[in-house]
Every structure is written in structure tokens, then in C-alpha cells.
Symmetry: D2
Subunit: 349 residues, 4 copies
Amino acid sequence: MQTRIEVGILGATGMVGQHFIKFLQGHPWFELKWLGASDRSAGKKYRDAMTWHLAGTTPEDVGELVVEDCKPGNAPRLLFSAMDASVATEIEQAFAQAGHVIVSNSRNHRMDRDVPLLVPEINPEHLKLVPGQQRARGWKGQIVTNPNCSTITLTMSLAPLKPFGVRNVIVTTLQAVSGAGYPGVASMDIVGNVVPFIGGEEEKMQQETQKILGEFRGDHIEPLPARVSAHCNRVPVVDGHTVTVSVELAAKPASAELHHAFDHFTAVPQERALPSAPPRPVIYMHEGNRPQPRKDAERERGMACFVGRLRPCPVLDYKFVALAHNTIRGAAGAAVLNAELMHSEGMLD
Amino acid sequence: MQTRIEVGILGATGMVGQHFIKFLQGHPWFELKWLGASDRSAGKKYRDAMTWHLAGTTPEDVGELVVEDCKPGNAPRLLFSAMDASVATEIEQAFAQAGHVIVSNSRNHRMDRDVPLLVPEINPEHLKLVPGQQRARGWKGQIVTNPNCSTITLTMSLAPLKPFGVRNVIVTTLQAVSGAGYPGVASMDIVGNVVPFIGGEEEKMQQETQKILGEFRGDHIEPLPARVSAHCNRVPVVDGHTVTVSVELAAKPASAELHHAFDHFTAVPQERALPSAPPRPVIYMHEGNRPQPRKDAERERGMACFVGRLRPCPVLDYKFVALAHNTIRGAAGAAVLNAELMHSEGMLD
Amino acid sequence: MQTRIEVGILGATGMVGQHFIKFLQGHPWFELKWLGASDRSAGKKYRDAMTWHLAGTTPEDVGELVVEDCKPGNAPRLLFSAMDASVATEIEQAFAQAGHVIVSNSRNHRMDRDVPLLVPEINPEHLKLVPGQQRARGWKGQIVTNPNCSTITLTMSLAPLKPFGVRNVIVTTLQAVSGAGYPGVASMDIVGNVVPFIGGEEEKMQQETQKILGEFRGDHIEPLPARVSAHCNRVPVVDGHTVTVSVELAAKPASAELHHAFDHFTAVPQERALPSAPPRPVIYMHEGNRPQPRKDAERERGMACFVGRLRPCPVLDYKFVALAHNTIRGAAGAAVLNAELMHSEGMLD
Amino acid sequence: MQTRIEVGILGATGMVGQHFIKFLQGHPWFELKWLGASDRSAGKKYRDAMTWHLAGTTPEDVGELVVEDCKPGNAPRLLFSAMDASVATEIEQAFAQAGHVIVSNSRNHRMDRDVPLLVPEINPEHLKLVPGQQRARGWKGQIVTNPNCSTITLTMSLAPLKPFGVRNVIVTTLQAVSGAGYPGVASMDIVGNVVPFIGGEEEKMQQETQKILGEFRGDHIEPLPARVSAHCNRVPVVDGHTVTVSVELAAKPASAELHHAFDHFTAVPQERALPSAPPRPVIYMHEGNRPQPRKDAERERGMACFVGRLRPCPVLDYKFVALAHNTIRGAAGAAVLNAELMHSEGMLD
């Protein structure tokens, strides 16, 4: 293995931080060397600074790392951010100001005019926003973001349909509890139950989708001129967000054309064989009752989007179901793939 | 208590049959005196003929009843049918031919041109199909049906909106496992999972909704000229079907008008104070994350439809969430309320 | 209805407080007139001071009550305590000092030498500790407690066996999430999972059982000279603690004797027909796979203990399974029944 | 990779059969070449003969194999049996008669006097029963079995304690739904519920444990002279059986001795580095609330037994909790490890 790029995690003790740690284990390009968290944790060994909430136990070597303050200083240039939204704005900006490349899963800068909301399979050209961002903000560093976990499931499933002109979309989510972090959803609220509301989620899905599928126009992204309507629900599933989608398509394609599009979709991360890119980013399942979160979300290392049940929609044009792993493809894995794309563009040199 | 009307159940040993037994306990008008089931069970005491799958145990007196063949003979005139679809057509017709009033939860005759698909709060006038049914089929008896359990949740929630001209509807269901009967859904398929397919359910929701909201035209029902698109999913919930609904309304009402409509909706069963009619058939909940199946489905004896989260839909006009108890309002309770309406019309005399 | 006794709740906004409110609805003897909670809530209407976590919604009249500080003053003489253990000691003592009768569900005083740990069906004579408590502490008021929710399930199931000489007991619990209050157990920890540890629970079961089954000796309770070993587990069940029990019995009875004991067990609350006393406090179920929490816990208004599967234990003498509703029989209902017993003894006059 | 040994599966279409297929993917010694199932499936491609119930989809190459009748003929010599108990006796015997090595997960021959009930880490010497089995039955082939899935969890956890003289054991299980196969447990019975009964399971645990921990005596196994008492329960967990164990130990060791025993336990499969042997067969977890099925069962490829919470038992000597993956270590993986041990003994040559 050649020399790897040193990386760190901002917000390493929370649940998304733990997902970053797990996902980065054995990464061929990135070597985890630095963990940042709140004052409360700084100075402690990682294993003493948190309770590990994921399957298995804390990776041995990471457990021994000493947690640092989230202040620029000795941190590596490339930092993945799993900061809580309540503090992410200032901290991420301070690091970017100090020259760090911040690849963030936090929502704070996603909708900023000069910040890419990146899905490497969909809008790699949005990275062209970065030079303007650096100029406008006077930064040597930069901030690049990935979408909300439910948005990414939706947009991945729509990506193969982009050539047909995605117009209006109505989507209902059935979201896993891991999406809410830890402690997140109280068991009293979700065991044997459905909660038909997730704060801010519908707005994020509606806005982020338009930006992700939008066009780069020099200094900003022109949002997709399509309306998106989301109904967001929590269900008693551990990992994997399921979405049901009805979509209007300008080109009125035949269903065989859509099947072909799903079956042959590939993109920049696959062409460049980025380490975390799944061989096929969108996998259409022909079984009549799939995809299902417990059976499919973890396949392909949690990095693919699974689609099924494509059929005509009596109201819009087509409808289908889609699924992606919300804490991998929808969070830690998404950010790591973003960094891989950036590295392949020479942006980490 | 005055003399009650004797009633029986066709298909008494299955899960829907058990729900009928439970719901009829202590009914002020109807007295359960007869239980019909397959040859295999006939001749046995009810308690020996089945395993009780509902909460609690078999009601004492019902347990002692001897199960009979599902053949006309000594059965009471009024029969609730919980027959399996594989046998319901012939058996229900044989009883109707023999003069029985069949109030059926089975799907077999729901879409027959001359059979009411009745929701007493929505289309009581559809009972006017019965004389024509009797003439055309040469029956002294009759068959009246109630909708599928997910359809009834949807149509109850749309009922207050009917004056505004219900046009296109896109609905996603999150359906409880009790809707599949017993043994129904394998636990291996649903614990911590979602199954995005229920056989035949989407077609039923799409067609039944149009008939239920349609207009009586002398000898048939003119379906509502609206398109309905359904995405049906199973979730690990015991009782209560949740639906998310986006709807187009011809009159383009203000949201205050819709709130008023939900808050003041009442109908024939309430005016006549039918025993199983909830005081308010549709209850709008103002809490931001309700209704929820485990917390709300059993309220109002399981007979109301709960609605919440009314808000504009960026694609159609409005969207909201609705919930009803699938085995009560969506099955046994629906049929009993149908029979109560029929009795109030003198159709059981 | 005759004049009812005014009662209040200490710690009314928490989950146990909500259970008290629900259980007291329509109580024939007690009328809820006063709600106490922390400074943060005091002065607000109850409906604005908390989020209702139980099924249904806040009872209308209770929602309008104004929450008061937990300080003696205008509170009714009889108070049910649902205080958090972190503050219960001082507050309960202050009220008892001021002359209030505190019927507490909190754990703080349960093991005090002069405080009854009361289960009306098992040890009503333990109330005789109260005069000594008042003398020793210089109180006009008093504190009476009920056991932990898992202890009560165990002790109720052992009550009919007391005449046979309960010796050693090994018990494993499968406890519902509602036992941990709100937010309590994180869904990430329990959906599709088991947590084999509940802080302090095993010690409570081991000690409280000995006291409850012990003998009143003038100024203290002589604990039952039996060893109790508990394994406590959390499972993804909403309400109802299941326990598996192996027990040694001094008298070495035949199994028919035990069945007779379970089937004929009755006690003071039944003889006096206390309003919350179930007709039969222990119900033996002969079905081979019962009791089950979701199907049985709510029967008998949640106040009975259900037992099943009595059979020889190859190591100790007998083994069986038992179940009770943890937030009703194991908390709010237990305390209300305690107060009813006290009223029937003239202790509230 | 050297030439691998061809193997087949009896009962390949059921759930245990699917687990064998999954576990054998990429096995370094065994190559799956033959699938046997009932007449109904014979002649079809495997993918058309069953519905795949495990996570992911049918392995491509296995899907193309044509299913054969379960009759001796062209099957490989080494066969894993996942036969249903209703047919396993005759079919397994017919194959053994015909010279096949049957490594069976079925319960039918487990308690036969001359059949090893093998756990390679515990009783490898029980394989010495085989020559006598062949002589007595006139077989060139042989039958070797693995224990029930809950027994294996218990016995693995007791293995390190064997030197201290395992005496009486009381065990309560919290078993996953996958243990019941497909469709197995109805979701109506287990969502949000516990079922305190599993047919035949307690007897199996009690008898099999004595045999597994027993001594080879020339032509039979002398059972461990210890009494085992089991309480078996089903809980809503997908994979992983949790057991709580109280145990009496003849040597009355100090707890440090037990910790040492758990931490240093190793056995023949580890010494020989059998391909499916976990590096450490028993892993003691020091976290206070582990092991947990959803977080730990799949670690170590599902082949280790996890133990935690060792503490004194007030009634017997010690108590603890243990966990193993029921369909891997408790079924398919157990049988494959058995075959690996047999191969290392030259029994497959």
C-alpha cells in the first residue's frame, strides 16, 4: 500500500463520527489519524470519550487515539465533518479558513450558493463551485457537502432518469431509526409504530433534490425546475431508508427505456474505479417485493441504491420503490466517496 | 335490552372471523348465534375448531357454540362474511339465493356492478343498488360489501374533501401485519424490515376508491372521474394502516376551508346514532407528529379515521397523513356498521 | 357517586405521572385535583407543560389544570408520587412531614426499615409499620411504597405459592421498554435486539422480593429467608414484563396442589372489592404458549398477574412463566390499589 | 486453491439449506456441487425451485444448479443435511447406507447412542463413536450431527467452565425468529411480543447438553451427571440466541479463575486452524450490557460464542449471559466446522 493521505474527523464521538471510523477502516487512500470532538471529550482516549453504538466494538487502534479540540492546529488537511448542526457552521468555516478541506455530512452549508452539494454519480461538475467559494470567502481551504440521507436515496434513484427530463416528483419515505443518531428516536415512540413526521426532513428533500439535479452555471447551481413533494415517516427499521416515488418525465419514455436506463447507469466514480464506488451505483431488482431494507441495504458495502417495482403511475408517469443505506451511502460513505472524487480531480494535492 | 337480531358469521374460524366475534360482543342490536366454517371444523365446538389469535381469549359463550357447515339451512338471515376469497363467491351467492342478507368483508363481489361497496359515512345511497341486484339475480337475499382495509382508510380521509372535488390522488400505505390474516406475514420478512409490495392491494385501492366516491345512477355506480395511484407497503406494526396522501382538489380551497371540513364532518351514521358509529368519523389531530398507529388506532373503539399534518403539496394541491384500524374500521367493524345502516333503512325487517 | 377524596400527583409530567392520570380517570373514590412538577413546569397548564406519551391524548379536564411546585401548601392530603429518584427522597419526606399521605412509586424509601413495601394481595399487614414510622420520624403524614415493576410481577406469581414455603428462586426477566420511562431506551439499542442489563434492577428484585414476602415483626419486616437470583433483560415489547421462574418449595407439593393454589388464590383486595382490585389477582392460563405480553398484559385493566406453563424444574422444584403490566400493575395501578387498601383500613380518614 | 472436496446439501431449498449455501460460498476445502430436495423441486434450476429468504440474493452459480431427488446416486460422498425432521431419518440413513458421510443439522439422530453430537471445541473425541456406528449398522457411510441452535449457545458458553465441574444449570433463552425457519413464526405472534414456548426445545437443551458435555466410553457417551433446566422463549430478534445462565460448579472457583478460563479458552479447531474456526471460540465482553444479538451475533463470521456479565448467583454459584448466531454457529456453520474437523481427522479420505 502506497503512502496514504492522513485524514481526521470533526465530531468523532457521535454516531455519524463512529460511522466514519468504521467506514474508513482499511481504506486504501485515507488513513485516519486525528479525531476532534467537543471540549468535554478532548484529551481523553477515544475509547474513554464515547460509548460505541454500532455493531461490534471500537476498532483497537482508533480506540487508542487521543481526542482533540475542534480547533485548527495539528489536524490533517483533509477532514470529514460529522459535526452536530448546532455547532457545524462556525467550526467548519474556521477550519476552511485555516486551509483545511472539509468534506461535510452536516446540513449547515448544503444550500449555500457557493458550496457543492455533491453526489459523485450525479453532479461531479458541481465541484467547479469550489474556486469561486475560495475567492469569495478568502479561503485556502474549502467546504464540500453531501446531501441528507433520504435525499440521497431519492436522487440516486432518479439519476438514471435524468436524461428523460425529471419533472415533478412525489416521494414518501420510510426511514430507519439510525438516521436520527443516538439516542435519537425513543423506543417508546417507534416499537410497533410509525411516526409520520421528521423535523425539517421534507424541506431538505424538496430543496436539496432540486440543487443536486441542477446545472452548474459558473458561480452557482441553477436548480432543476421540478417540484418535489415529500412525506417523511419513521419506521422501526435499523438501517436503510425506503422511498416510494412517483415521477413525471418530460420525454414520456416507454418502460423498456427506463429499465434500460436503470440497468446500464454508470458514472464518473465507476469509470475512475474510486475505492468506495460500487461497481453499479443503481441496482434494479426484478423480484416483485424488493428492495427491502433488512435484506438489501448492506449489500455492495452499503454504497449502492436499489430500485424495484417500476410501473406506470396513473397520476404522474411512473412509480417505483428505492432503497439506500442511510448511514453509509447516506452519510459516512457518501462523504468518503466525495473525497475520493476530489482526490481523483487533484483537489487534495 | 330489546330482542336482538340473530346473526351468524361465515368463515368464523379465521382471523377476520375472530374479529367479528370480538366486535359483536355486547352488541345492542345483533346477537351472535351461528358460526359457519369449512367441513374440517364443522361439528366441533368453536373453541376446539380454531386457535384464538387475538388479544385475550375466546369469549366463553362463543367458545361453546358448535360450528356448522357453510351451507344454507338453519343459519340466521343476517350473516357477516369473513370467507376466504378462494371460496367466498359461491358460498356467498348460495346464501343470498337462499334469502340471506350477506354483509361481506370478502373482496369477491366488491366490484360487481350491482353490489354496493358501502362506507356508511360516504355513500349510504349506494344501498339503492340492492333492489336491482335482487331482480337481476333472482335473489330474495342480497350481498353488500365493505372495502379493503387500506381503501377504507383512504376514502374516510377523503370524505370531508368530497365537496371540493377530489381529483387525482397519490397515496402510499404503511400497513400493519394484521391486515394479512394468520399466519400471514412471516416474521422473518417483517421484523426490522419493510416489504414494499402487497399482492393486489394497489389495484384494489385504485378501483375501489373510484367506486366508493362515485355516484349512484339507477342501476350502477358511476366511478369518480379521478385517478388514484397507490404504493402499498407492509411495516412491522400490529394494527393500524397509515397512509400518506397527496390530493388534487378541483375547487382549490384555502387550507382553512379544509380544516373546517375535517373538523365538522359528520354523516348519516352519526345522525342516526348507529351503535358502532363513532361520534366523529374523522378526527383531525393538531399534534405535529400524529396520528400514529400504536397510539391512535384503537381510540374511538377503532372506528374513527384520524388525520393530521394537512399542508400544501408542491405537486398536487394538499397533502396529509391518515390512519384507521385495519381490522376494525377496515374489516369487522366496517361490516357491522354496514348492517346497522341497513337495519336503520329497514332492510333487515 | 358520593363525595370523592381529592388527590394529587407529585411528578405529574413524567411518564409515570401520565400513567397515574390515565389510571385515575373515572376513579370512584379518588378525584384528581392537583398536579405537582418541577419549577420548570409550575405555573403552566398541564397540557402546555409536557408532551403526552401514552396512547390517545391528554384527558381534557386534566390538561386544563395548572401545574404547581412540589412544595407542601395547597396540595390534597393524599398524594401519589411519581417523582424521579434523584429528587424523591427530600420532596416525599417534606410532604410527609407536612402531614400528607404519600403513596409512592419511587424507589427511594422502599427498603427503609419503617416503610411498607406494599402489595395488597400479599402483605397488607405490612401497613402496621406506619404508626412506628410516624413516631420515629415525628410525622403526621406517612410514606407507603410499591415495588419495582419487575419485582411485582415476580412476587404476585409467587404469592399463591407462599403456603408451600418459597425457598430459592431464579428468575429471568424479559422487560418492556415502557419500564424505562421516556425517552428511556434508545430505539437504536432495542429494535430487533435484546439488552441483557438494566441498571440496579437485579438488586431491587433480589432485595424487594425478600421484604415483600417477609413477616411483620412489630417495628420491622423480617425478610423471607430465601435467596433470589435475577437476570434482567430488556426486549422490544411496549408494555408487559415477562418473567421465567424456577422455584424451590419447602413443602415439595404435587403439581396439582400448585394448580389448585393458582386457581383459587384470592386476597384482601378481592374480599373488600377494592375498586382497582382484579376479580382474580393471579390468572393461570392453560394454553401452552401463554401468557404473552402483547396479548395478555392489558386484560383485567392491566391489574392481574398471568401465569402459565407450570412444570417440574430439574434443578429446583418447579418452573413457570409469569406476566404483569409493568406500568399499571407494576406502577400507577399498584400505588392506587395501595391507597384503596389504606382507605379501606381507615388510614385516609 | 488446491482441489476441493465436492459436497452436496440434502434439503437445499429450505431456510437451513440456504444458510448452508451462503456459508459454503468461497469455502477453501469444500465445493458445492449438488443440491437435493423434494420431488416437487427436483429437475428445476435451484433459482426456480425456491424463494431466497436470506439477505441479498441467490449466489449466481448455485442458482444455475439443477436440483436432484434426495436419493443416493450421483451425489458427492460428503453431504450436509438440512432435511426437515419429518423425513430426515429415512433419507439420511439411506445415504449413510449407500456410503455417504452425512453431516447433519437435523435433530433425528442426535440422541442415537452411536451417533456423535459434535461440537468441535468441546467433544472432538466423540467422533470415535463412528466406527462402532458403522459396524453396528453395517454402513460404509456415517452420520454425525450438531446440536440444536440454543443448545450450542449454552454448551459453548459452558465449555471453558468444564474443568471446574459443571453441575446444575438453569438457563433461559431469548431466541431469534430465524431459528424457526421459514415461514416459521407468524409476525402476528411476535411483533412487539414474547412467546414463552418453543415446541420440544427445552427437552432438547436438557438432553443434548448432557450428551455433549459427556464422556466417550468406547461404544457410547456417558452423559454429564448434571441437571439442566431450560426456559425457552421467542423474542422479536432476527438472528442470535441470547441465553441467561445460572450454573453450579463443583470446584467452587473464584471469579478470577472463571475470567481466566473464558479469556484463554481454545480448542482443537483453533489449534488446527480449521477454516471456519473462529480465532477465539468464546469471547468474553467486558462492556456491562453485552453481548447483544443485533450488535454481536454476526461478528467473527457468526462462529464465536459471546459471553458477558459474569457475576455470583445467589442460588447457584455463578451467572452470566451468552450469545451465538443461531443459523451460523447454531446450524450451517456448526455442521461445516464438524466436517472440517472430520477432514482434519482423515475421516473424509
